[in-house]
Symmetry: C2
Subunit: 182 residues, 2 copies
Amino acid sequence: MKFCSDCGSVIEKRIPDGDNLERDCCTKCDSIFYSNPRVIVGTVPIKNNKVLLCKRAIQPRYGLWTLPAGFLENGETIEEGAFRETKEETNTEVKMGNLYAIFNIPQINQVYMLHLAEVINEDYCSTSESLEVKFFSESEIPWDDLAFPFVPTTLKNYFIDSKKGEYPLSTQIIERPPRKSS
Amino acid sequence: MKFCSDCGSVIEKRIPDGDNLERDCCTKCDSIFYSNPRVIVGTVPIKNNKVLLCKRAIQPRYGLWTLPAGFLENGETIEEGAFRETKEETNTEVKMGNLYAIFNIPQINQVYMLHLAEVINEDYCSTSESLEVKFFSESEIPWDDLAFPFVPTTLKNYFIDSKKGEYPLSTQIIERPPRKSS
């Protein structure tokens, strides 16, 4: 952030009174700008113990398979956002289940929140965000072509839990590998 | 948002290519600015079936009692943020327990995530954020002087659950009352 979005003046980083972290502060008006983590909401869409995955039609990770998920928008609840993202990426309207997985990814300021969901219609199909939308049983999962680290972790957990018939909430931290310096 | 924080030019609201919501877009450079819900993290700090509450030393709701909670910061996990906020508001370092309550407050773009926590030290005390920090049993809770709607809801749930000895995660939506027009 270089310029104040309220008045257009130059921004400086400093610790405001009563705070203990550096913030983006306007050098002219009194505006302070906070940057906070964002929430990614999504689902594990299930039918007959198969999981509905999406082949990404957008960057990053174009062409790799993922669970439907995306940024929570203003004005939404977590479940509404998970429902919307699933519809946008798979075209189908799922029946929302319990919160199933939370992933903290502190290096990139993200919190993932995934709900179990039941696929109740046959209208899933490719969308502007997904090249292909397809059910996979455990043995069919394309383990080498999954888009993000949360996807294999969630799928492995799901298939373990499905054998027990219990789906407790799990909370995990994903460490983002440091960038290669060379 | 009136000015681009990257180049200082005027902002216009429009739907970017490939999106379906209006965003703040720069009229000169290609910057797009997204606004998303923020996460508030906190705890229900417990010892001997009493809850540690904080009398707010800051606005809003100065002088009313609350559970320790505040905005999740960049670089933190949910549990780290809940631990930090509890320390900042009560001075004590709690032993973190399970995620216990999620509140969606879509009208103000907030998601609350509260963990149960065990108070293990006797060093809780007033802080720059709390006029007073004190344990309350169920019969002692100052029900008429609680700061925010999530506080009585969480406390009522807690005392019901404590009688059963089971503390399942609850997810709720808090509707913010519309502003009075007069």
